[in-house]
């Protein structure tokens, strides 16, 4: 049974029937899913949710599917880690890390949005799923469509490093490398989506796709014991996840699953690609596109599709946003790894570094609950930290050599002390 009420334009409010449509025919505004929250409130309880499998579908009434989900049955419900050691370094009392670096099956938060998009695509009867991506999204679409037994086309710029393609190619989609700049690739993909009638998860299925990001927020609240955090820091690339986490918190209040307590949401971007933070700091509503230049490739989107809605969600909550340099991003990755044993990609390093900055600025108080969003896995982007990690000490295979090395290390305090 579905609790959806159809599609609605976010800008002019025009209603549309249930179909794979993403843009308002009148004003070109993006479409979003409507729900019957009163009906959901009557059937959805903590007890019902607790009785379900630990995956993202435990909140299915608040997702745009009508039947039983068939994809993403192991996605979501990633750990919310109490980060005491990192909290001590940052000088805060209650710090949590929501860790999607171990999301199933492709180690990023994209497994949430793709699970929902592919499930919707199956319900709509699509036989071919597609996306344009340089990394995490292509990995996830390739894996989920392999599992579902659907045709899959992946579009990539033709100058993408070979290594970046392997994480998708292993699932044997049809990869297509397109020559031309990113604007050309963007345009071609929208033309293909129109002409071939395929399900492009982040184009014509975007209203369904983005709904999957709400599950990140639902889980944070559930894992905090059905409470909202007071502060949550979220990275911004295309702008999908941040407004949806905000929406998730609002929906949980609306259906009576959490109390309406104050919370603020903060956007994190790399200084080499910070169109949303720039607009936020300028007090502007319009986002000026930028040309990305950062190691944080997974969040290097110069003109985010939903950037405007990120600004809206941040401002409505009373939050803020910051951008950090590539050096700070690498330091953020290393800090999270050495304090919490979590290896994240540069997007996560950005969130850690921005959280640190916001705490130092006094924007986030030190005595309130804070959640850092980690949305991807560092093992996919080893090149980002290759020059920043210590090299091994070299010795011959003799105990005396290790004894000598150990003594030197002890004297220079280069061995980590146990906590």
């Amino acid at each position: 049974m579905s609790f959806t009420t159809g599609l609605k334009c976010r800008e002019c409010g025009e209603s549309y029937s249930w179909k794979p449509l993403h843009v308002c025919e009148l004003c070109f505004g993006p479409l979003e899913i409507g729900y019957d929250y009163d009906a959901i409130a009557r059937v959805l309880s903590h007890k019902t949710i607790a009785s379900r499998p630990r995956n993202l579908w435990r909140y299915k009434e608040l997702l745009p599917v009508s039947g039983e989900p068939r994809i993403g049955l192991h996605s979501g419900f990633t750990p919310l880690v109490k980060a005491d050691r990192l909290g001590e370094v940052l000088g805060v009392e209650e710090l949590w890390v929501k860790d999607d670096s171990c999301n199933h099956p492709t180690f990023s938060y994209k497994d949430r949005v793709v699970s929902v998009a592919v499930s919707a695509a199956i319900e709509f009867g699509f036989d071919t799923i597609s996306c344009a991506s340089t990394g995490n999204l292509a990995n996830s679409v390739s894996a989920h469509t392999a599992r579902a037994g659907l045709r899959c086309f992946i579009f990539i710029p033709d100058n993408l490093e070979r290594g970046k393609v392997i994480g998708s190619a292993i699932y044997e989609p049809t990869p297509v490398a397109i020559s031309g700049n990113y604007d050309d690739v963007n345009r071609l993909c929208t033309e293909i989506a129109d002409k071939y009638g395929w399900a492009f998860v982040n184009i014509n299925l975007r209203p369904f796709y983005t709904e999957g990001a709400k599950t990140y927020g639902f889980e944070v609240a559930e894992q905090l014991g059905w409470k909202l955090p007071q502060h949550i820091v979220v990275p911004t690339a295309g702008g999908t996840i941040l407004p949806k986490v905000a929406q998730a918190f609002e929906e949980l209040v609306q259906v009576g699953l959490v109390k309406d307590t104050p919370w603020k949401i903060y956007t994190a971007q790399a200084a080499g690609c910070s169109p949303v933070v720039n607009a936020l700091h300028r007090g502007a509503d319009l986002i000026e596109p930028v040309k990305p230049n950062t190691i944080a490739k997974s969040i290097a989107i110069g003109n985010p599709a939903d950037g405007y809605y990120v600004l809206g969600a941040v401002r409505k909550s009373g939050g803020w946003g910051e951008a950090v340099t590539d050096k700070e991003i690498v330091d953020g990755i290393r800090l999270l790894a050495r304090t919490e044993g979590i290896f994240t990609e540069p997007a996560g390093g950005t969130t850690v570094a921005v959280t640190k900055k916001l705490i130092e600025q006094g924007r986030i108080p030190r005595n309130e609950s804070i959640v850092i969003s980690v949305t991807g896995n560092g093992y996919k982007t080893l090149e980002a930290v290759t020059d920043a990690v210590p090299v091994p000490f070299n010795i011959g295979a003799r105990l005396e050599e290790f004894d000598a090395l150990y003594q030197t290390l002890e004297q220079s305090s280069k061995v980590r002390a146990s906590a």
Binding site: H22, C27, S133, L137, P157, N186, R187, P289
Partner: protein
Amino acid sequence: MSIERFYLTYNQDRIKEPVIYWVGQKFRVVTNIRAASVSDHIGIVALELEGDQDEINAAVKWIAGQGVKVEPIEKNVIE
């Protein structure tokens, strides 16, 4: 005949240029403005172009050559 939808982004130095007027004069395309926002720094226009695909392609290339960013209304879809 094809119809395509674009966002045109004008930087401050291009904001006074009558680019949409000229594209209608130079190419066999019907221009239809569907939404627009202008601030001190930037102008954004949601524009529909209707015509033969070759004419639309040429029109888009010409607009981009005027220093105006042309993107599909979906903006950046490479994630």
